[in-house]
């Protein structure tokens, strides 16, 4: 919102419930919350599971595609991670379950990713770009459960990308696939000035950071 760094303090204003920062776990500029604020770039899509699929694409080639039952049949992984939103709230120890990107590449018969970057794409038109390296070695998964419960639509269900080590706008809600791209290009928020990579530990919030 055009934040100016010299705003006067509003006496007694605290805002969303926040715990004191635990320095070693919380990136610079973040505030820990126990809420789970919902942020969306558009209305919540409601794709029925019978119509849902997840795909790996390279240009026009559909390398692999899984229906919901097929996706559930892949190796499921549980992850506990801290997540950090660029709007400054962080939530510690969130529990997810789903399929890691490593598992998807293996299931697709790919020994390695064909490109260095991907564009994740979602129902409703949202996109976000990521370096492949940020998705491998267990760093990312396509999650279908939060806290052992199927992911609610308002929080990205039936499936969302979860990449906890980057700002949470990279964890695309309602994800439907990954498109391999040879050159990095900006997705939905990146094209409006948000950082191309978004590492919260380097405070990469906006382009040029």
């Amino acid at each position: 919102m055009g934040i100016d760094e010299t705003s006067p303090v509003s006496r007694g204003f605290v805002g969303r419930r926040r715990s004191p920062a635990q320095a070693e776990r919380v990136p610079p500029g973040q505030y820990v919350t126990s809420d789970f604020p919902v942020l969306s770039a558009g209305p919540t899509p409601h794709t029925p599971l019978e119509q849902w699929s997840f795909a790996l694409q390279h240009g026009t080639e559909r390398i692999a595609e899984w229906s919901w039952p097929q996706f559930q049949g892949l190796k499921q992984t549980r992850v506990t991670a801290d997540i950090h939103c660029v709007t400054k709230w962080s939530k510690l120890d969130t529990h997810w379950e789903g399929v890691t990107i490593d598992t998807l590449l293996e299931a697709a018969g790919l020994a390695a990713a064909p490109t260095s970057y991907v564009m994740a794409y979602s129902d409703g038109g949202y996109t976000t770009n990521l370096p492949m390296a940020d998705l491998l070695k267990g760093r990312a998964l396509v999650a279908t459960k939060f806290d052992d419960t199927p992911l609610a639509p308002a929080h990205g269900g039936p499936a969302r990308l979860v990449v906890p080590h980057l700002y949470f706008w990279k964890s695309a809600k309602w994800v439907r696939g990954l498109s391999f791209i040879t050159q990095d290009k900006p997705g939905f928020w990146e094209s409006l000035g948000y950082h191309m990579r978004g590492d919260p530990w380097k405070e990469q919030r906006y382009a040029g950071d």
Partner: protein
């Protein structure tokens, strides 16, 4: 500050250099906590335009971030940042000249109160109908103001409808706004009245659709949607 209801409060702000506003406009309010955390919300101005001072109506959203502070903790003498006045669409000036239909839901009465305040000074006698929808009698805000304006000007009519509970002997409406209610209270469409509708999103859309169904063209319906309980952002 002035408590308007158990859950709503009017804040009177003094702003250096403030030059007044057009009825219907809003301001963006930004709060900064001691640790630098910031939050921003928009609130409609409910007062008549005057230099240096404006009044905002804040409805407390139970899990809200800003409204509980503004309706609870904030005290006279506190300061925060303001941007405005803002808005050129949901505004009214006497030069429009046409009869007015003002439809409010809950805290959506705020910008309409500003319109009524300007009207009382600069457009007395302009045929005006207010239709105010609230959940319970305690949720009808600015009761005294509305009564004062109504008493001072026979050309102004005020109708209330309660959607959740009404006291014994209630003579107003007891349901959500619908086409039948609008046919009874709304002004003659041949006079080409302008309608201003403000309140929670679902209420605004239902009222706007009902207005279209009773003959108001979309160009003469102006809408402003608040969040579920009145915060605009």
């Amino acid at each position: 500050m002035r408590d308007e209801a158990p859950h709503a409060r009017s804040l009177v702000l003094t702003v250096d250099g403030w030059q007044g506003h057009e009825a219907g406009q809003h301001v963006d309010v930004r709060l900064t906590a001691a640790d630098g955390y910031q939050a921003q919300r928009s609130y409609s101005i409910s007062s008549a335009p005057r230099a240096s001072q404006l009044e905002l109506l804040v409805d407390c959203v139970p899990d809200g971030e800003v409204s509980p502070y503004l309706t609870g903790e904030a005290r006279a003498g506190d300061r925060f940042e303001l941007r405005g006045p803002i808005g050129g669409y949901f505004v009214w000036t006497p030069k429009y000249g046409r009869p007015l239909l003002l439809i409010a839901g809950g805290s959506g009465i705020a910008p309409l109160a500003s319109i009524l305040a300007v009207r009382a000074v600069a457009a007395r006698g302009l045929p005006t109908q207010v239709l105010y929808s609230a959940r319970t009698p305690q949720d009808v805000l600015f009761k005294e103001r509305l009564e004062d304006w109504r008493r001072d000007d026979p050309a102004l009519a005020v109708s209330l409808t309660l959607t959740r509970s009404a006291p014994a002997g209630w003579t107003g409406y007891r349901r959500r706004i619908d086409a039948a209610m609008l046919r009874e209270v709304a002004l003659e469409t041949s006079d080409k009245p302008i309608a201003f509708v403000c309140g929670p999103t679902t209420m605004v859309e239902a009222a706007a659709d009902a207005l279209v169904s009773v003959g108001y063209p979309a160009e003469r319906i102006r809408t402003e949607r608040f969040g579920p309980s009145g915060e605009s952002t």
